[in-house]
Symmetry: C2
Subunit: 327 residues, 2 copies
């Protein structure tokens, strides 16, 4: 794996344009995989990712306990390691809180730590400072892998697979945005996501993964990232999507599953026919579905295919802070 | 170096109590140096530090250009690597900005990148999200070192040395807090700190460093951290402090030098007599002073010694966000 050709190749959308612009001139040194993947990979297979969570952008305090807020921020960073098929080693936690909320810091850190430790890593350190208003958390996750799973590497003929179910976190946001309490399962999906660390290692160890990403921008947007990085087209077969039951119950399940962001499931491309024989063992071991949801072809972009077989461009990536969360 | 006995040993003050509480149960795994030092050290000598900068806590937009804000955040994280005598490898940048300020993101990133590249590292990636108000930057700096310089290791009889001059950034804050524009030199010290990366490697390569920290909480507070981590007493000889000229001009130079925080100079303990013979070469090479400012004795805490020889406890660590920046 060489980073020299790893210019940032991201799917469409204003947030990605911005990241692309920021990283355009970023260099590569002791670095195997630079900007544009789920995490940076350093020589020796050290993988580093960072994830910021800002109150009223990524969460609201009225929705979650401080422990859940801390755990969710940690899960987001660890999920980037899962996407690289890396084993978590440690994490650093930065907190910024208004002076009056200092008592919450220990609860935030406890929540983060328990998720970090459940992933087999250690909380290595951190930083606490003031904030003029919002709670801010930033988690750095550090892992290692001999062979990172990248976004690039998918080829025409590959199948696209996803772990678990999609749209559950979006169903929770859907309820909160209407002023109602989400169903318990949807709330749990949002409040306590579990990064798919062991699942990623299991899949990668069996040689099933050609390209992988975690579902953090909605599966349509994330399929677009794999397509862009791989120089190929991703086709999602809408009828195959494993839509979360609470998402379905809204009557808008497919849309929530496609663009609902932050499910922290794994989306990966595999050579045709390899995954299905392993599927029962995966589902048995992890108690989670493994579903073929599409394929890779020549071309570009992420596309949706309906049951009649007709194709349409997928909606641009899901959760775009600057568009949907502007205030 | 083993992390098993590396419980967080920090100097006094409410912010440190909080960090201590958060990290108290943090574990050590593949980790050589865990919580409580300037950065975490992983097996293989990979060093990781993180530094968050929040508008109206760490900086004001009316004081600095976006490029300076980005550069300063990067310098703070890189200075933690310098404190460990680590060679920078790469950095990750997270930004959170209100929707209307997106245009500033490229300037913030440009400022960070130029400081990162000047330190010999690469900008490896990053993340951009919305903010409900303040600008927020978080920089993760990654380095490597075969032999990290730690806060512990100072012994009775050692000398305490500091690079450069102290109080310049505090002099800038002193002016701004009175509504006047700082002198150019003081403003530059605040706006464009240069992490002492090469200086740290030079000192460590010559075996001059027994314990080291970067001056980010005021030299009195940081001497307290070395004392606490080393199980010893740090005595600062007030008459020896290299007080910045703009700090002196305020009439309150010693106080600004002692507790003014964020000078990003290096404070280190060295065996008696070793540094002085190397001082001219250091000053010639780096164009910066190298000054003996005190000593290590048996005991605990950081103490000030006046010219008459009498001792008093040093003021508790300098820049404490929750106390001085509460709003």
């Amino acid at each position: 794996v060489s980073g020299s050709d790893a210019g940032p190749a991201l799917g469409p959308g204003p947030e990605f344009d911005l990241i692309r612009r920021i990283l355009a001139r970023a260099a590569a040194g002791e670095v195997e995989v630079g900007p544009g993947d789920d995490a940076a990979v350093l020589r020796g297979g050290i993988v580093v990712s960072v994830d910021m969570a800002v109150e009223d952008v990524h969460f609201r305090r009225s929705w979650l306990t401080p422990e859940e807020i801390g755990g969710r921020a940690a899960a987001a960073a660890l999920s980037d390691l899962a996407a690289m098929a890396a084993t978590p080693v440690g994490a650093l936690l930065s907190l910024a809180l208004p002076a009056g909320d200092v008592a919450a810091a220990a609860a935030l850190a406890d929540g983060a730590r328990s998720v970090i430790e459940a992933a087999g890593a250690a909380l290595l350190g951190g930083d606490v400072s003031g904030s003029p208003g919002p709670w801010i958390l930033d988690v750095v996750a550090i892992g290692s892998t001999p062979r990172p799973a990248l976004r690039r590497g998918a080829r025409a003929g590959d199948e696209l697979w996803v772990t678990g179910e999609l749209g559950g976190t979006a169903a929770a946001l859907y309820a909160w945005s209407r002023g109602i309490e989400p169903p318990p399962g949807a709330r749990r999906r949002f409040a306590s996501p579990r990064p798919r660390i062991r699942e990623a290692l299991w899949l990668a160890d069996r040689g099933l993964v050609r390209a992988m990403i975690d579902v953090s921008d909605g599966v349509a947007g994330d399929a677009g990232h794999i397509a862009a990085a791989s120089g190929a087209r991703a086709i999602l077969e809408v009828a195959c999507l494993p839509v979360d039951a609470d998402a379905s119950a809204t009557g808008d399940g497919v849309r929530l599953a496609l663009s609902g962001g932050e499910d922290y499931e794994l989306l990966f491309a595999a050579a045709a026919g390899l995954v299905e024989p392993e599927r029962p063992a995966f589902e048995d071991r992890f108690g989670a579905r493994l579903t073929r949801i599409g394929r890779i072809t020549n071309g570009e972009g992420a596309w949706l295919q309906d049951e009649a077989g007709s194709l349409a461009p997928a909606p641009a990536g899901g959760f775009q802070h600057f568009r949907t969360e502007a205030r």
